[in-house]
Symmetry: C2
Subunit: 420 residues, 2 copies
């Protein structure tokens, strides 16, 4: 048996989940791996409050150096969340030769280069399976079993809160604000939901997955990002009528000389494998030149699934004599600011002769052809709702058309990309 001495930075939901899993499943992990996991210290803000967990007093500390500077601690697990002080604490642990296991997509995404460089320098390992998709082993798949692939595409539902909201909006025909409030009441959305509903959380995760899949650094600030706050029950209902399901997608594509990286609501055909991934489930669809299409689906959040991924990483960190580091291409591959998609354009158009001709004319002028069109609730003399779904077209051209469409005879209410 080999003893593995651990320090936990944080003992909230995830830290507590890891504490529990190590207590109740440690013996099994020992039998299976020969590793005895021992949590020596857990950093907390206040020793009196530690989530009601049955943690001995001598394990608790309010002093980070009890973990970061203890030479006996081999692996530091970070559950603080947020950028700082998490990032600098991870950096210090790596500097001291300790391997780091983290679930913190924000700190990891923003400080990926420094953390990797420090790990490389000291020979420590950096593990982050839990940072994307909870228990779903997507980080592991990208770094190891799928290594012999040019990965062309990633498309993920990686934020449980927004997927829960969109699933309920679709099921109940309810508006965003109504469901958000209820999700907040149920503890399924944060009091300040911005990180989720504005797509930041998904963007951090896409930054990590994209950097690994495309072997090129995808910085979070280069990711196009649009949240779900403008999505209406009406959009979802019209989309459904036309055969589509709305999801918040994190999309990455490797076009060779450029990379696409974008987080936005998107309609998927109802028979797309991601379309039925509902509620708090996460799923990542991948396409690689040799493995072809693949989908990994599971619990993207929650104490137990996240702890599952963390302990999986701890075992790998303890077993790997040499820590594998993902290869990134030395050249900078630009993240594209234009791309091809299909577009669902919902507008109110004056019920007057020539309006349809003007709309279709503007689209044709940009070389955009129409795949489907639907007009609704036309009361003579009033504005009618008009939905256009385009064939594949450049983002920028569509934005120009949308700008031109907004005039006294027409008002564009929403534009939603159609993928898959």
């Amino acid at each position: 048996m080999k003893e593995v001495v651990l320090g936990l930075l944080g003992l909230g939901n995830i830290g507590g989940g890891v504490w529990d899993l190590v207590q109740f499943f440690g013996k099994d992990v020992e039998k299976r791996t020969g590793l005895t996991l021992q949590i020596k210290k857990a950093l907390v803000l206040d020793k009196k409050v530690h989530g009601g967990k049955d943690v001995p007093d001598e394990v608790l500390t309010t002093e980070r150096n009890d973990i970061l500077e203890d030479p006996e601690i081999q692996i530091v697990c970070e559950f603080l969340g947020g950028e700082q002080p998490a990032a600098s604490m991870m950096l210090r642990a790596l500097e001291n030769g300790k391997s780091v296991v983290t679930a913190n997509k924000m700190a990891l995404s923003l400080h990926f280069d420094e953390l990797r460089a420090m790990a490389k320098k000291t020979g420590a390992g950096l593990y982050y399976e839990a940072s994307v998709g909870g228990a779903i082993p997507v980080i592991n798949a990208l770094t190891s079993p799928l290594i012999a692939n040019h990965i062309e595409q990633i498309m993920g539902i990686v934020n449980g809160t927004t997927n829960y909201i969109l699933t309920r909006m679709a099921a109940e025909g309810a508006d965003y604000e109504t469901i958000l409030k209820d999700a907040q009441r149920l503890g399924l959305a944060e009091p300040n939901p911005a990180a989720d509903v504005e797509g930041m959380d998904a963007a951090y995760k896409l930054s990590i997955m994209g950097s690994l899949a495309f072997h090129s650094r995808v910085h979070v600030e280069d990711i196009y990002r649009e949240g779900i706050t403008k999505v209406t029950a009406e959009d979802i209902a019209f989309g459904r009528e036309m055969g589509y399901v709305l999801k918040l997608l994190a999309i990455g594509k490797d076009n060779g000389d450029s990379i696409e990286a974008r987080v936005h609501p998107a309609f998927l055909p109802a028979d797309h494998p991601l379309a039925r991934v509902d509620g708090s489930l996460n799923a990542i669809y991948l396409y690689g030149h040799s493995f072809k299409d693949m989908m990994l689906e599971g619990r993207g959040a929650g104490d137990a699934p996240t702890a599952s991924a963390i302990v999986g990483d701890i075992v790998q960190a303890a077993q790997n004599a040499v820590h594998p580091m993902p290869y990134l291409r030395p050249e900078t591959v630009p993240v594209a600011d234009d791309w091809q998609s299909k577009y669902f354009i919902r507008m109110q158009a004056k019920d007057a002769p020539g309006v349809l001709a003007e709309v279709t004319g503007l689209l044709a002028g940009e070389g955009i052809s129409v795949s489907a069109m639907m007009q609704k609730h036309a009361v003579p003399g009033e504005k009618a709702t008009l939905i256009v779904i385009t064939h594949s077209a450049p983002e920028k051209a569509v934005q120009r058309v949308v700008k031109a469409l907004n005039s006294d005879i027409c008002q564009v209410d929403n534009v939603i990309r159609v993928e898959g």
Copy 2:
């Protein structure tokens, strides 16, 4: 750069796929991993026939010892298929300290213990991601990221041929024999399809997955096995009417003191994630105590997806200084010969007073309650088709009822388990 010298046993579809992937993607693998893959020798039956691949003559050999006994060759990749001579050649390679990568579920499943023991003895590695689910990284997931779980259930669609046949039977309302013949004509089913349609292929795969997931040796001869040859278009149609989709499932459950391991056709609720895994796709649904539910889906066969898994394994074999071996419990855990399922029972019953009472009475006598019942095409005086779907009940009790039901007033045409 570290050179990795490989020997291939076989250069058919999979071997050729690996040859191609190493030729066309070897430079990328080198950049990403620091490993230069060099295929030194490939064993073929006849040097003149090597699948039209552009393989230099000096690489080809008809002499196994050119690979197994060459001290320069570090990793042996086995693509011969079948039990022998594949198993003894893998054993010899391991004995000589060479790591083995294989896609051969049959040889692996039947000789798992010997191969593992030899690998342990000499410190060589044994890798077999491609043996189950092609490119889907399920072996990797079970052996590493999901290690901190009591895995309670595996349910897989792991045979592409039968899934293709069942998908087409459902889509076209056609009978088994018709679609089988067409699949054979298209090269999607073997001229002798027994290994696929009788469930042997799925049983080998379940043996491997189950042994890893439950940390207990699941021998293929202990797996209950029933193929798809008795499934009719009628069964599929009636099932659909009642909300079910038919699949050939490989099911494993860990009940603590016993293990369930069975391969048989099964109805799944139409909204189950496995229900829409169609055609040649494979998918494995897993339930673990900490990761909860997960599904991994992708291409279970084909040259390129299989080669993707093989090269992934080669990289791991070359990178791992110490080769991880799955832990198996020392005690023998029996594979159950009875289990709980729900049952779809299709029978022809005489249209006479008291028949329904007799059927339901027999079920009640075994303590089996009825979840749904449907009677079809009752022409007065002729036999009517009667479908019963039970609530969860013991297999053996249902078999007793089926035996008792077969009488002069009733004939059971098919019994299909209902899972999910």
